[in-house]
Amino acid sequence: MNDGTRDGAHDGPAREPPWAAGFFDPSHMNPMRSMILYAIGALTGLAIAGYGLFTAAGTSTRTVPPEDVALVNQRPILRSDFITQLESETGLKFEETSAAARLKVLDEMVREELLVQRGLELDFAETDQTTRNALVSTISQAATVEVTTSPPTEAQLRDYYAKHQADYATDGVMQVRNLVLPAGAKPAAAAVADQAAAALRAGSSPDEVMRRFGLIEGKRYEEDYYFAAKYRLGDEIFEEVRNLDAGQVAGPVAAKDGIHVVLMVKNTKPVPLGYDASRKAVVGDYNTAAQTRLLEATVRFLRERSKILIAPDYVRDYRPADPTP
């Protein structure tokens, strides 16, 4: 029943309820509008936060993401890995494999994941040497990832080249006759070696000098790269001969095995290379140096956050290695 006094019909135009007055008028303060806008803001924030929470990596879920073929304790088995494993085991393309083969391989991968997780629970990573080696290798290689994902700029490469220019040259190649007067061969060995060297310098052939002065020659090598010649001659003799021209003689040089007299047969000295010719090598060297730096930075960080106690008999001399170039 309408008593005719509350419908406002007799009070002129209908009035808005108090909460709606000025709701859409920005110049009019309206607590209800404020509350609704607050609520919309809060709900939007919650929705965004919830989306982030429930889709972030590692979030516990009961559905398998489309890129995965299974989740084992929330650890994914990628479809790509599954396909690779399946094709590897069967020798067939994925689409040629049977459903039974797919299920068999899937189960194998689930089983492997279970055993790996059990191994982690039992802390085999700590006790098994093979696992430890693999972990060290993997973590060391992880430094490579940073390097490969941020390739150096041309300016960085040129700067590196400028700082290490001496490293970039053609390969030095030499061939020598390395004659030796064996240690303890003769009482006046030094004098004999002097005479042998003088004879070589005077143009006698190596074979004649060996015969006359009792020198011997080990295996005779053909032309060799500098690094190989250095390895065979030893650092000291190599430094004596590296700048000789063909026909020149070094020595006598005393070494453990006797006194050496070395005839340079052929020496193609390294020629410095410009940036363009060296670029490929510069990229490799730059990346190697960057990997070493990153790995050492990682180790430094780990040292800083770790508590390392060294036994009393070593603590005084222990110094962390830093192979950073």
Binding site: D25, P66, R79, D81, T144, T148, A281
Partner: protein, 258 residues
């Protein structure tokens, strides 16, 4: 001061229109997102080599893959996918695949884990040793070669695509290739390579690095090659990675080793 009723009505209409537009925009965005999400899921759950049989899905992958390639891969491989042989960056459009035969799943694996990227599942097995150095292969004990051996085996490899070289030098090169150089181990006795480990075919006239000249081959043998492709797993969505693989498969017009 109160607004006149007309002005209030106009303000109310504008606010309602704005709110309606916002709702429509959010709804459209939601629908687009849901549609894209559904396509992504379909793409990921499809058999990789069967995607080309689903034209709408294939078109979606090509579109998405092309954009992702331009954003993430073109800086090295070039916008035209032609690579740069002076830097050992492969041509991705020439149908010649170093790893695998160019199938979508194979390309996807390379993009996921990279080549010598440091990821344990990357293509890490084979490198081209630097035979003019004291330690040609840092992962595997190998002896260096002498300058003459390098020259002989370079000529032998050069002879695959340039017949008529000096027979004696070729014979010496053959011996290095099949004996102390261990070249046959990766490239095969016939030099045709092995896409299962990324060992290139030396007989097809396609050169990953350099121009196939004798000097360029000598340089590769003397100083080695070990190019790097970064891993993208965890850095790009799985659907984007598969899209790039579909795109590259389509551009290179299919397998070459089959």
């Amino acid at each position: 001061m109160k607004r006149p009723p007309e002005a209030a009505r106009v303000a109310r209409a504008r606010i309602l229109a704005g709110a309606a537009l916002a709702v429509i925009a959010v709804a459209a965005g939601g629908l687009w997102y849901a549609h894209d999400d559904a396509l992504s899921a379909r793409l990921l759950m499809a058999v990789p080599d069967g995607i080309q049989n689903d034209p709408p899905l294939h078109a979606y992958a090509i579109r998405r893959g092309r954009a992702a390639f331009a954003a993430h891969c073109a800086s090295c491989h070039g916008a035209d996918l032609a690579g740069d042989p002076t830097r050992g960056i492969p041509d991705l459009a020439d149908r010649d695949w170093l790893y695998g035969s160019g199938r979508v799943g194979e390309i996807e694996r390379t993009i996921l884990y990279g080549i010598r990227s440091g990821h344990p599942k990357a293509w890490n097995l084979a490198i081209m040793p630097a035979f003019a150095t004291a330690n040609p292969n840092k992962f595997y004990k190998m002896e260096p070669l002498t300058p003459r051996e390098v020259a002989d085996v370079a000529l032998y490899v050069y002879g695959f695509s340039h017949p008529g070289q000096d027979a004696q030098a070729l014979a010496r090169g053959w011996a290095v290739f099949h004996k102390n150089g261990f070249c046959f181990d990766c490239h095969g006795g016939d030099g045709r390579g092995d896409p299962a480990i990324g060992a290139p075919d030396l007989t097809d006239g396609i050169w990953l690095t350099g121009n196939g000249s004798l000097a360029s081959i000598t340089d590769s043998i003397a100083h080695g090659l070990q190019g790097i492709c970064p891993e993208w797993i965890g850095r790009l969505p799985a659907a984007t990675i598969r899209s790039i693989a579909v795109y590259l498969n389509a551009v290179s017009a299919g397998p070459s080793h089959e």
